[in-house]
């Protein structure tokens, strides 16, 4: 009893969204259920197991935030690319030749000293998969989806980000097929860095708007992104 009590009812312990991942006996139940589903769909000729494997392999290895980071770094380093990215992100990112080519409707929004952008999807979990990969669990969670539009500074604080009160927080709710990525502020002290080195400062969260790019000073000399 006391454990259940402690689990469910401590102040602030709103676990409604804690169950991000099925666990224990739930895992085996859902595993079996999904395995059966795949069998049925394969047997009925709707899906091809080899294609499924390739999709998974692409998301596990080639489609991820390193793609977005490359675009951001290039925009920092190359004013013409930056203009192109902000003007038509679909075309600009498309020119980089990623595995998962960007469909239409990608939009890059620029952070400035005056404006900080943050992306959410309150109705489901829309996210720019092609440039950032699959979304993290927190992005899909009820706490983020609910509070990003009413208390973005509170959300940012939970990510360790505090911005001046005078900074405008600009939240983009992805309610259609438009997809947003944030072009974060370039950290000071990175003048003359290569695109590859700059890319190592660009985190997934800073392209969602719940983080800032890493400081150039945090980087051990010579370290670059993989």
């Amino acid at each position: 009893m006391s454990q259940e009590h402690a689990d469910h009812h401590h102040d602030g312990d709103h676990h409604g969204d804690r169950q991000h991942h099925a666990q224990g006996s739930d895992v085996s139940a859902i595993q079996l259920r999904v395995r059966a589903l795949e069998s049925i769909l394969t047997e009925k000729g709707y899906v091809d197991a080899a294609a499924l494997d390739l999709i998974i392999e692409a998301y596990e290895t080639r489609i991820g935030p390193h793609n977005g980071a490359r675009a951001v770094a290039k925009a920092w380093a190359d004013p013409a690319f930056k203009r192109a990215l902000l003007d038509d992100a679909t075309a600009a990112v498309g020119s980089l030749g990623f595995t998962s080519r960007v469909g239409d409707h990608l939009v890059a929004v620029e952070n400035t000293q005056r404006i900080h952008n943050m992306v959410v999807c309150t109705l489901c979990s829309c996210y720019p998969w092609e440039v950032l990969g699959l979304p993290p669990t927190w992005y899909k969670s009820a706490p983020y989806r609910s509070r990003a539009v009413i208390d973005p500074r509170g959300v940012l604080a939970e990510f360790g980000v505090t911005l001046p009160a005078a900074t405008e927080i600009r939240v983009w709710d992805s309610t259609a097929e438009t997809r947003f990525m944030v072009l974060p502020l370039r950290p000071p002290g990175t003048e003359g860095w290569s695109e590859q080195k700059l890319a190592s400062l660009v985190t997934r969260d800073c392209m969602i708007g719940t983080g800032l790019a890493k400081s150039g000073r945090e980087m051990p000399p010579g370290e670059i992104a993989p």
């Binding site: 969204d17 099925a22 069998s39 009925k44 080519r101 239409d104 009413i150 990510f159 983009w172 259609a176």
Partner: protein, 218 residues
Amino acid sequence: MNGVHDMGGMQCFGPVEPEPNEPVFHSDWEARVLALNRAMGYARAWNIDMSRAAIENLPPDVYLTRSYYEKWALRMERLLLDLKLVDADEIAAGRALRPGRPLPRKLDAAAVAAALTRGSYGRQPAAPARFKTGDRVRTRNINPLTHTRLPRYARDRVGTIECVRGCHVFPDLAAIGKGENPQWLYTLRFDGRELWGESCDPNLKVSIEAFEPYLGAI
């Protein structure tokens, strides 16, 4: 449908809890569910709006307690049954009991690269856009029992058109199988105080992507 999926503005779900070094998938079955969804989407078994509507139609407690990919699996079963692509006895048996029905396409290994490119939702407009950048508009107060992409928090609110995004497939009708009915799409920016009242942070701006049928003149 006004449902628990329409979460913007709720304050009851506790803090955001990022998982350090989160893997792409937490279990193999999550990866399989993702891939099955992509494959069935490529096959045009349903459109993206139908699949969103199907997840919104999960029972509210299921929606709030099941993991993301578990909801995807439940949603897929629901769609397969509703569209008669799989029968209930097959779900029960865990295997196919009769041949599949024809689908427009099938995702094979050679098509994967193309399948990973996101489709376009832009369509030729039937009429010029009613609004232009800078226009002030008021969203309508609609409460359909079916799928909509106008969240409750942004209904009957005045905002400024920030961008005209082109003419897009209209989810409210596509979700219920009534065709694409392309509509102009706008980025509509609200002052935070318009959404949340006078005590809201004066430096908050929130935008939604709003289809023209959601909008009226002030």
